[in-house]
């Protein structure tokens, strides 16, 4: 504790006594700018939250399906296995912002209308594609970590392949990968802000608009605090789960 006080206090002293500090404080931490911009940013943040929740559900399902295909041993699924492998390689390899941009401006070029041309929907598609690839690999690692003898024993006592997967392998696999899954969701929670490149006024974009019209960066800090307010509880849950997992070993 003493060392934390000395280190953090020292840093604070260095910061607050530097010659540029009053300028920095006025430009980045202005209470007035914070008060005026925060309500709008908070309202816009609701869109981020809804997008995050929708994409998370899709990713959890799609990622699992892909992982199951990739880990399946059935020869009939071989072509699809190749496809899913290629899918994971491509969508993990492309920067998410690029994907949002390409899908967001590319699909409407096809002349589609209605929801298919809606930037919020298209951004959700892009995020789902990208994060399903990550999450599929997390699931796959979890499934691979369950020893082969577990399946063998399940089959030996008369379970079908599906039952063995459903009741023996997956419960163990998913429990093991909860921390990395949550980690990906923390990352997703921030990446929903990328919908802003398609012109949608979510929290980050609203903060940017405020900042650029007043030449004050404080709104960006306000937006950052909102993202943190959601990710920190998630990080703590992650820590808790990891500790519990650790204790079991």
């Amino acid at each position: 504790m003493a060392s934390s006080v000395i280190v953090l206090g020292g840093l604070a002293l260095l910061l607050f006594t530097s010659s540029g500090w009053p300028d920095v404080q006025e430009t980045f931490f202005s209470p007035e700018a914070f008060r005026t911009s925060f309500p709008d940013i908070l309202k816009a943040f609701w869109l981020d939250v809804r997008m995050f929740l929708a994409v998370e559900v899709v990713v959890l399902i799609l990622g699992l399906v892909i992982a199951l295909v990739r880990t399946s041993l059935s020869p009939a699924l071989f072509p699809i296995r190749i496809l899913t492998a290629v899918y994971c390689d491509i969508f993990r390899g492309v920067p998410v912002i690029l994907l949002v941009y390409l899908i967001g401006f590319g699909i409407p070029t096809l002349g589609v209308t209605g929801v298919l041309a809606e930037p919020i929907f298209l951004a959700c598609v892009a995020l789902s594609l990208a994060y399903s690839a990550y999450v599929a690999e997390v699931y796959r690692a979890g499934i691979a970590s369950v020893h082969r003898t577990q399946t063998d024993s399940a089959l030996a006592v008369g379970l079908t392949n599906f039952q063995a997967l459903r009741h023996v392998v997956l419960p163990q696999a998913v429990r093991r990968v909860r921390p990395p899954l949550l980690n990906d969701f923390i990352s997703l929670q921030k990446d929903v802000a990328l919908v802003s490149v398609l012109g949608v006024q979510e929290a980050f974009r609203v903060a940017q608009i405020d900042a650029q019209s007043t030449f004050n960066y404080t709104p960006l800090i306000a937006a950052a605090l909102l993202y943190i307010a959601v990710t920190i509880p998630m990080a703590r849950i992650l820590d808790y789960l990891s500790r519990k997992e650790e204790a079991k070993r």
């Binding site: 504790m1 060392s3 934390s4 006080v5 953090l8 604070a12 607050f16 540029g20 009053p22 300028d23 920095v24 404080q25 006025e26 430009t27 980045f28 931490f29 202005s30 209470p31 007035e32 914070f34 401006f105 409407p108 070029t109 002349g111 041309a117 930037p119 802003s196 490149v197 398609l198 012109g199 949608v200 006024q201 974009r205 940017q208 608009i209 650029q212 019209s213 007043t214 030449f215 004050n216 960066y217």
Partner: protein
């Protein structure tokens, strides 16, 4: 690690400290630069404390768009703002070879701390909140907002801004277009706000938006050069338009000299000439109320 339990508290306290203490002593004094009178003798390459001695460093964003710059090259003296900058330099006694350009992203132009340029020209609108943070020269252009619609759009023949109420409208971030759209049209669908001019154009091209609102010279340029068949549905008549000024460090000693040069250019008609040369005639854009 028992110490880590206190980290959130320490962080929270530092957050409070960051925001504490300012606001009360915020500088309320009005900008003084504009009223200072200077003479030609005060504004020479030798007497001016420029960013680099003997050189006038001018900033603008990259890419630099027409008709404000041509060929994405501010140094060629072509395009409205490039021409204005070189004319200002000339009035202050800097030859064309003594003008250096530097890339200044719009976002960075108002960052606190010393500026890496003497002045920045980037179609920046002068507004009171911005004037608290930076110096602006006197305005060198007065821009109206205009509505640009795609080829074959029903909106091409509108007579009033009310007819845009249900349109999906795209604007560029950092411009005053969004304020004007919200204030004068108040559209039923939230306007889309894109990162740059190219994205605004793409959005119109692929039908993500029905209309875009940009500065009138930009609208005319886009219509003639980038979006064949598109039309300028009209310009905002109600607002008095945006005034663009050169952006400088707050309380820069250069501000009065830039104003001196601009005044000079207004008086002998140079500014008018440059404007006529590079900015299209706006007369053919009907006014929308």
């Amino acid at each position: 690690m028992p110490g880590t339990r206190f980290v959130p508290i320490v962080l929270a306290l530092s957050a409070v400290a960051l925001f504490a203490g300012c606001g009360s002593d915020s500088s309320d004094e009005e900008s003084t630069g504009a009223t200072t009178t200077v003479t030609a003798a005060d504004c020479t390459p030798e007497s001016l404390g420029t960013f680099k001695a003997g050189v006038l460093t001018v900033g603008t964003d990259s890419p630099a768009y027409p008709p404000y710059f041509e060929d994405d090259d501010p140094t060629n003296g072509k395009g409205f703002e490039s021409a204005v900058a070189y004319a200002i330099a000339d009035r202050l006694g800097f030859g064309a070879s003594q003008v250096e350009w530097t890339t200044v992203p719009f976002n960075a132009s108002y960052a606190p701390g010393p500026k890496k340029f003497d002045f920045d020209v980037n179609q920046i609108s002068i507004t009171p909140p911005r004037e608290k943070v930076v110096d602006f020269s006197d305005p060198y252009y007065n821009a109206n907002q205009a509505v640009l619609v795609a080829k074959g759009s029903d909106l091409a023949d509108i007579n009033s801004l009310d007819e845009l109420k249900d349109a999906k409208i795209g604007v560029q971030i950092g411009t005053t277009s969004l304020d004007d759209v919200n204030a004068e049209i108040d559209p039923s669908t939230e306007p889309r706000v894109y990162d740059n001019s190219n994205d605004v154009v793409t959005a119109l091209k692929v039908g993500q938006v029905d209309a875009i609102v940009v500065d009138l010279p930009t609208a005319i340029y886009l219509r003639d050069a980038e979006l064949p068949g598109s039309s300028v549905a009209g310009q905002f008549a109600g607002s008095e338009g945006d005034q663009w000024g050169a952006l400088l460090q707050k309380e820069s000693e250069l501000t009065p000299c830039i104003n001196f040069a601009l005044q000079n250019m207004v008086e002998d008609g140079t500014l008018d000439e440059i404007t006529k040369q590079w900015m299209s005639d706006a007369a053919d854009a009907p006014e929308l109320n």
